[in-house]
């Protein structure tokens, strides 16, 4: 009697365990299915973003070199060529807005448009000047890391022909919207172009104390002095 009872208890115990096991398997299957449905494609999208953003940066380097470093082409044509490329490959409005920070929303629509046009001109001139010093550097892709399926950081190394100079680390932050991709920031040795410009412009606005108007004046003066030099 006692023995039987004990056995029955045992089987009951085993029964509970078996049911528990079945439940665990079921939960695991649901979780796996969920993972396949959600995480699976998301990870695939991240990987796709990583490889397409790398291709994007490689193409940008090739195209920028051909637009900017041909000595046969006169400088003003090179500036025009690069302006087209810059607007096509860089998220100019996004960067310009980020750089302005809190001062963007305080400005009128006209001021915003005037600022963006000046910002774009300054960026184009700066990049054209930078490439004037080009002497055979090459951009080597290191790797790309997506933090979501629409944004990735492509790490690259700028290899300089002069052996006394170590390679420069450049990180390209690439954003995607639909089929389009654009550069949203470039970080050189850990220093972000967008952050640096933001600090620069904010300081001008603070000193002049006239909001975006003061910055627009400063940008005009800067462009005039660049033209003159």
């Amino acid at each position: 009697m006692n023995k039987f009872r004990q056995r029955s208890n045992n089987s009951k115990f085993l029964g509970i365990q078996a049911r528990g096991f079945a439940a665990t398997v079921a939960i695991a299957m649901v979780m796996a299915a969920t993972a396949i449905f959600f995480a699976g494609p998301a990870r695939a999208d991240m990987a796709a973003m990583e490889s397409s953003s790398t291709q994007f940066v490689e193409a940008l380097a090739t195209d920028a070199l051909s637009a900017l470093t041909d000595p046969e082409i006169p400088r003003d044509i090179r500036v025009k060529q690069f302006r087209v490329l810059f607007n096509e490959r860089f998220a100019v409005t996004t960067i310009g807005r980020f750089v302005l920070g809190r001062h963007w929303k305080d400005a009128t629509k006209e001021e915003q448009d005037e600022y963006l046009a000046l910002f774009e001109t300054l960026m184009v001139r700066t990049y054209v000047d930078r490439f004037e010093q080009y002497s055979g550097e090459t951009l080597e892709m290191v790797r790309a890391v997506a933090d979501k399926d629409t944004r990735a950081t492509v790490q690259t190394k700028l290899i300089r022909p002069d052996i006394s100079k170590p390679p420069v680390r450049m990180d390209w932050v690439i954003g995607a919207k639909g089929d389009e991709m654009k550069v949203i920031d470039v970080a050189v040795e850990g220093t972000s172009m967008a952050q640096t410009l933001r600090a620069d412009f904010a300081s001008i606005i603070r000193q002049k104390g006239t909001g975006l108007t003061g910055l627009i004046e400063a940008l005009k003066d800067k462009l005039k002095s660049i033209e003159a030099s």
Binding site: T93, T94, S164, A199
Partner: protein
């Protein structure tokens, strides 16, 4: 008269913003440069000195010294930094990097013929400087207000203390002191400065030409560079967070898409 002006600027502090303007107060605190007027005065003096002495000297150095020799000079200077580098790696608890640095020192001191050649980098032991300012940061010490030091350039209390500590920890300085070769310390500092300026001739020109406020640009760059050095962003596997904030969706349509720009602006204003 001149000393009067100096005392005047010493007393001046950056004017604090209107406390009711929350965004301005937040910006003021983030910039953390309460001695801005004095810092700017020192910065101007440093730039004037650079224009008259350092930049011409760096150009002369580039023009007069063949590249192979300049490479060797840079390599020897780098070798001398490795003991302090290894010590700081140890203090940061980074045994791997401490070993890496000792390895680098041994390889370059021997196979590199007293540091003239940088064999270690080719062997996969690239240079990654660690200083006591970084060590303090790893220990949780805040950087404090921005400081522009005469001759030495951008700093802050934490990194300034770090420089002093590194100076006293450096076996080179002890050797020079014990053997009454103080000139060796000055020569090393001088050549190091010259080397740095020569390597950055184009970069500094570019920054001066492209920035609106060179002072604010340098301040931002200094902080970002220190941040990257502290997190070892140059070499570690950790990817830096994209600099443009999380709420900032890329707007790809740009100039053509003014409508979507307006949408973005109104959505961030809420």
């Amino acid at each position: 008269m001149a000393s009067f002006a100096l005392v005047g600027s010493l007393g001046a502090c950056a004017s604090a913003p209107d406390p009711s303007d929350v965004e301005a107060v937040e910006e003021y605190e983030r910039i953390n440069d309460p001695f801005e007027p004095l810092n700017r005065t020192i910065f101007e003096a440093n730039l004037a000195l650079d224009l008259v002495v350092l930049e011409p000297a760096a150009r002369a150095y580039r023009w007069g010294v063949p590249e192979v020799l300049r490479v060797s000079v840079a390599n020897v200077l780098n070798l001398l930094t490795q003991p302090v580098n290894a010590l700081n790696a140890l203090l940061q608890g980074d045994l791997k990097h401490a070993g890496h640095t000792v390895g680098r020192f041994v390889v370059n001191a021997t196979f590199g013929v007293a540091g003239l050649a940088d064999v270690a980098t080719e062997m996969g032991l690239p240079n990654r400087p660690e200083d006591f300012g970084q060590t303090l940061a790893v220990w949780g010490v805040e950087d404090g207000p921005y400081l522009m030091l005469p001759l030495m350039g951008p700093s802050n209390p934490r990194d300034g203390v770090g420089r002093i500590a590194d100076y006293f920890a450096d076996p080179f300085n002890h050797w020079a002191d014990n053997t009454r070769r103080n000139y060796a310390v000055w020569t090393r500092t001088g050549v190091d400065t010259l080397k740095f300026r020569e390597q950055n001739l184009e970069l500094i020109d570019d920054l001066q030409n492209s920035s609106l406020d060179f002072y604010a640009t340098v301040r931002s760059l200094y902080r970002q560079r220190r941040g990257a050095a502290i997190s070892n962003g140059d070499n570690s596997d950790r990817v830096p967070a994209p600099s443009i904030g999380m709420d900032f969706e890329p707007l790809v349509s740009d100039r053509a898409g003014k409508a979507s720009l307006d949408e973005q602006v109104s959505s961030t204003q809420q």
